[in-house]
Symmetry: C2
Subunit: 431 residues, 2 copies
């Protein structure tokens, strides 16, 4: 191990799309970087993701929804260049499909809701077009003739997350990021005062002793599995819960052509790949770390897909899988520095981890390098880091994000002591 | 290799439940026996089977239906002793559950059909009881209150085919049956006249030469994969086609109790195991050797199961699998000697392979040992071998089964020459 490997400038915990994107970008900025993953790289949440780049279709009411929208629009705009650079760096195509997304309503209730959603998008200045059923079927002839209405989001696209993972891995390797799989972090290590993070502890097993791995800075991109990492006082924790998603991977033996773009409906979506494969997702369930597919959720996905696209009947089922999205209490991500110096966060991306990877990488690298906003002053990034403040769930934490960069400026704040994870808000369960 | 291993008395092609049951019983009768399987033992059709022992629920109209019924009733009667002997020989429980089976009708059409089925069973002297919905729900409280009628078959039980496979394997090993996995048979070897089977040819690969494996007798229990075996003239072939079945394995996280016995409905069934697991099956499709699960079939199984048993919604999906049942033109099995001396058959069991394993083993061993009916004169076996005559699909083959035991008495018959596999009747496709 060289000096920088023994104590890298940045140690990233979690090798999903977020962790690898941060690592790749940080390495490009000259930092020595190590990524630790508890299992195989990219076999957690990212492996199951559908890959919609859909800030317009996904937009939600409320203040947190606005924040996620701003992030999503920024990141959506970054995706074409990000994909191109990633493909150049890795030699691997990432399956970016700029097809737009069609939202369909199957009955009068859903049509009314779609109208409301359309008005809401108009009020935000987002591009969307209301379509009659005949217009929708002209775009997607496979859609059932019984649909009542449709809304087209021409700027919502998709990418293949598994291809992105392969490409990020290759790009990281090529750039000299050290990648360590099957290396779970047991604990965050701090200095004696408990204010500055100095590295991590890897739990030993039968065949190896515990190992301390020092690092200049640590970034947690462990999704919901952050719960497994000890060593953080309550006021320094970001509350992240697992949000179960059941998802099917389908294949048309007749090849591509059933769908031209993404189709969304109440309760699910179908995302086409170039090769006649489709992703049908997804349930949204609060079930803890339960990774078992269930009859009810799978049945409803298949039923709804049938109603909207009768042709799915002929598709083969290649895979039925379950993922755990990382959800914060307001379902917006936590990106940036936290309560301890030297520790920053990139997690809580919920349903939007693939979409938000490019902007997250920029913001996280800015945090780690101490810039507080690497491109501060460049209009698209202004205010985004504040919007993702990992400390927003800690009562009494009032400092601006600029004062709490994970690289150098973070300071322990006695006022934050005593805050607990009871802040985790219960969220309604739904399939 | 000892003498008997180099040239066993009996070489069985196919190590599913049928092949292993024949091998075990033949070894018990003193024969040296080798089983060859193209893959892992028991990973073909038997691995996917649900394990219903349901001659009464499965009975079909028509002459072939009667033949299968006679076999099924005989084998069903043998199962308790067969299971006991198998458990004693192996030390492995096979999960025999003597629960009875409930057939339910969801609407008036299905209720009329159930009445017709009930009358048909009465006419055959089979035990079944018509139940009102309230009576059915007293037996199985999880059944939807909307069902219209039910029929109970108190003598139709179930067993766990994977446990049976494990037990058969252990019993075979303990008895000294030689088991060879990943050993596909390329060709049946005959004498110069082409009338007597002398063994098989194993195709070599990059690392090994072709190998001739002589045997006193050969029994084909290869299910639909008999199509892969060369060396048989057209008149000596038994036409077997693959009949696709899609099936789900479910698990109740709350433990056992949702169902007490097997529940059948139009298009499917649910078979409980002791431990809170269930098998939900199955489609019946003519798709060749296609092993891909399809949206349409899986969706309909889940939909129908939901209608009959709303509680399935909470079950976990542990496995989605596809099996290929071996079907003959009349869907009744082919058991006994064929057109060539030294070759006998035990295949074509379609939906009834697990049920028919005990009787098939007796009949096949009788054939191989040249008895023409090992227990001929014992009432339950009379006529059964004739009913399964593998030559019934060959025009002009008129000899009685007693004249064509695979062990010693089979003779080539010029009248059979020229018969072709065009006899394979098309069978309606259905999911």
């Amino acid at each position: 191990m060289s000096q920088s490997e023994r104590s890298p400038d940045l140690l990233v915990i979690g090798g999903g799309v977020i962790g690898l994107a941060v690592a790749w970008r940080a390495r490009e900025r000259g930092l020595s970087v190590t990524v630790l993953d508890r299992g195989e790289l990219g076999r957690g949440t990212s492996h199951v993701a559908a890959g919609m780049l859909a800030p317009v279709a996904e937009v939600e009411f409320g203040e947190a929804g606005r924040r996620v929208l701003a992030l999503g629009l920024c990141s959506s705009g970054m995706w074409p260049a990000f994909a191109q650079q990633l493909e150049d760096a890795s030699g691997i195509e990432v399956g970016l499909l700029r097809t737009g997304t069609l939202l369909v309503a199957r009955d009068d209730d859903e049509a009314s809701e779609l109208d409301r959603q359309s008005t809401f998008r108009d009020s935000l200045g987002l591009r969307s077009e209301r379509l009659r059923p005949s217009e929708a079927r002209a775009l997607e002839p496979a859609i059932a003739p019984t649909i009542r209405r449709a809304l087209r989001a021409p700027d919502d696209h998709s990418v293949d997350p598994r291809a992105v993972l392969r490409a990020l891995r290759r790009a990281c390797e090529a750039a000299g990021v050290r990648l360590e799989e099957h290396t779970p972090v047991a604990r965050i290590e701090t200095d004696r005062a408990g204010e500055r993070v100095t590295g991590v502890l890897l739990a030993g097993g039968d065949s190896r002793p515990d190992t301390v791995r020092p690092a200049g800075a640590v970034l947690i991109a462990a999704g919901p599995w952050v719960q497994e990492i000890a060593g953080l006082p309550a006021h320094a924790r970001v509350p992240v819960r697992p949000v179960k998603g059941q998802i099917l991977r389908l294949r048309d033996p007749a090849g591509p052509g059933l769908l031209n773009g993404v189709v969304r409906f109440e309760g699910g979506y179908l995302v086409p790949r170039r090769d006649g494969r489709y992703v049908l997702g997804a349930t949204v369930q609060e079930r803890g770390f339960n990774l078992a597919p269930e009859v009810g959720g799978v049945y409803e996905l298949l039923r709804d897909a049938h109603e909207v696209l009768p042709g799915v009947s002929e598709l083969e089922i290649e895979e039925l899988s379950v993922g755990l999205r990382p959800g914060t209490p307001d379902n917006a991500p936590a990106i940036g520095g936290g309560a301890l110096e030297g520790l920053s966060w990139a997690t809580g991306h919920h349903r939007n981890g693939i979409l938000l990877a490019p902007v997250t990488a920029e913001l996280a690298v800015a945090t780690v390098t101490g810039g507080g906003g690497m491109r501060a002053g460049e209009e698209p990034f202004d205010g985004l880091l504040e919007a993702c403040d990992p400390l927003r769930f800690v009562p009494g934490a009032r400092a601006g994000a600029g004062e709490r960069t994970g690289g150098a400026a973070a300071r322990g704040d006695p006022a934050r002591m005593g805050a607990s994870r009871d802040e985790e808000a219960p969220v309604a369960s739904g399939a």
